[in-house]
C-alpha cells in the first residue's frame, strides 16, 4: 500500500499504454451516449472533416491519465481534484502512453500534487493534466 511518507517529489508514477480498438471506442461512446460521428463513422471523419482516421474522444484520453492516479493511490488516498486539457488530436490505432510525476508534497495537509501526461508514439503530449490526492 502506498504511504505518504514514502513519496518524494520527482517520483514517477507507473506508465501504462492504451491502444483503443474500434470496439472499445464504440463501447465508450455508447456508455457516455456520444453520437459525434468523428468517433465511429470513418467515411464521415475522413471525407467530410478531413481527419486521417477516426478520432479518439478527448475525455477518454483524460480518463486514461486519471487512471494513472487512481491506480497509483489505490485505496491509500482520496482524489481531491483532477484536470486535463485537450492539446492535440489522437486517432484510432495509435498507442498512447499515460504517466505522471510527483510535483509537490504538503506535510500539513498530507496532500500530494502530481502532473500527468498522455503521449503519442512520437512523444508529443496530446493531453496534459494534474491531480491532487490526500492521505489520511
Amino acid at each position: 500500500m502506498l504511504r505518504y511518507e514514502n513519496i518524494s517529489v520527482g517520483d514517477e508514477l507507473p506508465t501504462r499504454d492504451h491502444t483503443a480498438s474500434i470496439v472499445q471506442l464504440f463501447m465508450y461512446n455508447a456508455a457516455i451516449w456520444n453520437p459525434h460521428r468523428i468517433h465511429f463513422d470513418h467515411a464521415y471523419a475522413t471525407e467530410e472533416e478531413g481527419y486521417p482516421d477516426i478520432v479518439l474522444d478527448g475525455p477518454l484520453q483524460g480518463d486514461w491519465i486519471g487512471q494513472v492516479v487512481t491506480d497509483w493511490i489505490g485505496d491509500a488516498a482520496t482524489l481531491v481534484s483532477f484536470g486535463y486539457a485537450n492539446r492535440r488530436a489522437a486517432f484510432l490505432g495509435e498507442t498512447m502512453t499515460a504517466g505522471g510525476a510527483v510535483e509537490e508534497k504538503n506535510d500539513s495537509t498530507r496532500e500530494v500534487k502530481v502532473s500527468l501526461f498522455l503521449k503519442n508514439a512520437a512523444g508529443e503530449v496530446t493531453i496534459p493534466g494534474h491531480a491532487t490526492v490526500r492521505f489520511d
Binding site: Q24, A30, N34, D63, W64, S81, N86, R87
Partner: protein, 151 residues
C-alpha cells in the same frame, strides 16, 4: 481591440440548464469502467464511479433527428459566438466524494463566463462553464469547470 462580445452574448453569463435528475446504476458504472479500461475492482464491479464518469451526464439524450449533421446536439447554454473555430478545451474537477451505485444526483450546468483576449494570431473568446453535482439530499459531490476557446 474591437469588442467582439455583444451585450446580448454577455447577458447570457449566469444562465443555467434545467437541473438534470439521474439515478446512478451499477450497470452504468460497469459499462463506463470496461469501456475505459479500468483495472480497479471497485470500478469494474460498479460500486464506485471513476473520476470522469460524470462526463456522460453533460451529453443530452436526444433522438437522431434533433442532432446536427455531425451527430452533436446543439449546446443551448452557449450563445452563437462571432468566432466559429472552436478549439479543444479543458476540464478541472474538485471532488467532495465519489459517485456510487444507487446515488440519486442533481446535476446543474451553468455558463460561468465568456470573455475575450488578444491572441498571437488574432482575438480569442474563452467560454467557461461549471457543472455542479449534488445528491438529491444536498450533499456536495463534485464541481467541474470546463473551458473552451474559439478563434
Amino acid at each position: 481591440m474591437p469588442e467582439l462580445l455583444t451585450p446580448e452574448i454577455k447577458a447570457r453569463i449566469g444562465d443555467a440548464n434545467p437541473t438534470l435528475h439521474v439515478e446512478v446504476t451499477r450497470r452504468d458504472i460497469q459499462k463506463y469502467a470496461v469501456s475505459t479500461g479500468q483495472t480497479a475492482k471497485k470500478y469494474l464491479d460498479g460500486d464506485e464511479a471513476p473520476p470522469l464518469f460524470h462526463f456522460g451526464y453533460s451529453l443530452e439524450v436526444l433522438p437522431p433527428e434533433k442532432l446536427r449533421k455531425d451527430g452533436i446536439a446543439e449546446d443551448k447554454l452557449i450563445p452563437p459566438l462571432p468566432l466559429k473555430r472552436v478549439m479543444a478545451g479543458s476540464s478541472d474537477t474538485v471532488y467532495h466524494r465519489p459517485i456510487r451505485a444507487g446515488d440519486k444526483l442533481a446535476i446543474t450546468r451553468r455558463l460561468k463566463d465568456i470573455y475575450e483576449k488578444a491572441g498571437k494570431s488574432g482575438p480569442l473568446i474563452f467560454v467557461v462553464t461549471e457543472v455542479v453535482i449534488e445528491t438529491e439530499g444536498g450533499e456536495p459531490v463534485l464541481n467541474e469547470t470546463t473551458s473552451l476557446i474559439a478563434r
